[in-house]
Symmetry: C2
Subunit: 334 residues, 2 copies
């Protein structure tokens, strides 16, 4: 600032008033322009930290997540939030708490000391969260998580509608015996996706047949075992809705093991659209897109531009991604 | 601080001297203890930002990456760096530049304004990086990237040794016709892994046979096409080394397509150990572990505790992960 003042031949106070955009400063326009030109020429960067301290807020946003490394989804939430933050001239500070509450406590405490005053709390699995006591009174938006508190803004995937539309897609093609593999334990996502499956069947006037529903824990292996069980039944399903893409990958292996071609002999639909898997299986997997990028971006916008009476607890649509693993049922299932 | 001074019946200056741990402050031990007790009782948290400003450094470390969302690896670098940072009482500020140099420039400029004065620069694909001009004079460590500047510390996977050991594992089991699928274009990783493959063959007294090496661009699809090409040759290989797990996943599909059992009729070894795929294929994939977590952690330690004459340009070992896709060759290959 001293250098700018010397070059522009004005007082340091004038430089400070102009560069910090203080309201009510009575500086002639041409002096203001000269100060700004010299500041640009000299590569002056405002000390954002000092300014934040003075103004009581900083340009940092905190994204606190329970885990990031164990799921490839996390990246999409981070990327969505990061890009939306940048559009608003903010930096995203990412902290990974690994589900450890002591670490979460310390992370939040330290971020608060650093004047990080607005937070996204993101969960990698859609779940219900409590607002940490330290964050009471601070702007907070939940991402991929919800809360009992109606005043706390949140964004989650519309899992119920996703389950309904996945099943509806199979029904629309003529499938009537649709199996379900639930490998997600008793998570929020599983409960709602299964409810969507049941709603779609009932709306089509079909019974919900417990013999077509398999529940096991695990990833691809659960999909494999679940599909073997469904496909070895006397009246096997013509299509299977897997609650996620990893189960669908295992179900595809099971179909191969039994000599069934997908989609000619069996249709398989997944959920999540995990690019690494879904877009590269043989055949490529039809699935439902989790809106992780959009949730991250919406979270930041809701944090920075809260609408007084807007949609505070948003459910985002999970659109169908059509690839090659689904077609109308064969003649056997007429 | 005013509250603490009042409760401890001392001056605010005394409180400041004790709580900011200023050297040379002449405060009697019992007064010091009283101040600390009152500060703890009142929940006083030092204003880290004010302190950082005064001391000219903050407790924030910057992790600047070119991309995070498109590879599940990124999470492991972040997790390793985050956990090592926490062990040193630091917060990691993650910024994703999406390979846009204008964004990188703006990100670094803003972080510097926020007194973030030490940086990890992480690349998602092992490559050579230039130090951004803005970071000259700041502590910087490269992660999964190297530089021509010998003074710049860096940590990368030992790709050459990894390629040699993957091939060596197949050789040790008796394989003599070992195919190679290179789907990584002309990256640093590809060049070194292929060189490792060639070294291992030569060390075993075997020729490097160009007819056993296939080079194509792409992911699982490249592995599929590459394996079909190798396996349809008159004298097919008994084992294939795929330069990454995604190609290995495709090669497995190709073996199935041709009615070859893995590992009985064909051994397949991958590279990377992408947990989502490698640990859940049928059969589960033997592969080489990329040390992403360790690189992130090493990077932070090198940043915070630089050794004057230590290993400044480190290559980390990629250990073999034994699963089910490799066994000795069948009798046909005796």
């Amino acid at each position: 600032m001293q250098d700018v003042a010397r070059a522009a031949q004005v007082s340091q106070t004038a430089v400070s008033l102009v560069l910090n955009q203080r309201a009510g400063a009575n500086i002639p326009p041409e002096t203001r322009a000269r100060i700004q030109a010299e500041a640009a020429r000299l590569g002056y960067r405002p000390n954002a930290m000092a300014r934040a301290l003075r103004q009581g807020n900083s340009s940092l946003l905190g994204l606190v997540t329970d885990e990031i490394a164990t799921t490839p989804f996390a990246g999409d939430i981070v990327r969505g939030a990061q890009e939306a933050a940048w559009q608003q001239g903010r930096i995203l500070t990412l902290v990974n708490t690994n589900h450890q509450s002591a670490l979460e406590q310390e992370a939040l405490s330290t971020l608060l000391q650093h004047q990080v005053d607005a937070y996204l709390l993101a969960s990698m699995a859609h779940r219900s969260l409590q607002l940490p006591a330290l964050l009471r009174g601070h702007p907070v938006v939940l991402v991929n998580a919800s809360s009992d508190d109606p005043a706390l803004p949140s964004v989650v995937p519309d899992e119920l509608r996703g389950g309904r539309e996945a099943t509806g897609h199979l029904l629309a093609l003529g499938h009537r015996r649709i199996g379900l593999i639930d490998n997600l334990d008793d998570s929020v996502a599983a409960t709602l996706r299964v409810a969507g499956y049941q709603q779609a069947l009932r709306q089509a006037g079909l019974p919900v047949d417990p013999a077509l529903m398999v529940k096991l824990s695990g990833w691809q292996e659960a999909g494999f075992e679940g599909a073997l069980a469904l496909l070895r039944r006397p009246r096997r399903p013509s299509a299977i809705f897997c609650l996620n893409d990893r189960a669908a990958m295992g179900a595809l292996d099971a179909a191969r093991e039994l000599g069934l071609r997908v989609p000619q002999d069996l249709s398989i639909i997944g959920f999540d659209n995990q690019e690494l898997i879904a877009a590269h299986l043989r055949p490529r997997l039809t699935t439902m897109q989790l809106p992780h990028y959009e949730m991250g971006a919406w979270g930041v916008r809701a944090l920075l531009c809260p609408e007084p009476e807007g949609q505070r607890q948003l459910k985002l649509h999970c659109p169908l991604v059509r690839r090659e693993s689904v077609q109308p049922p064969g003649a056997d299932f007429g």
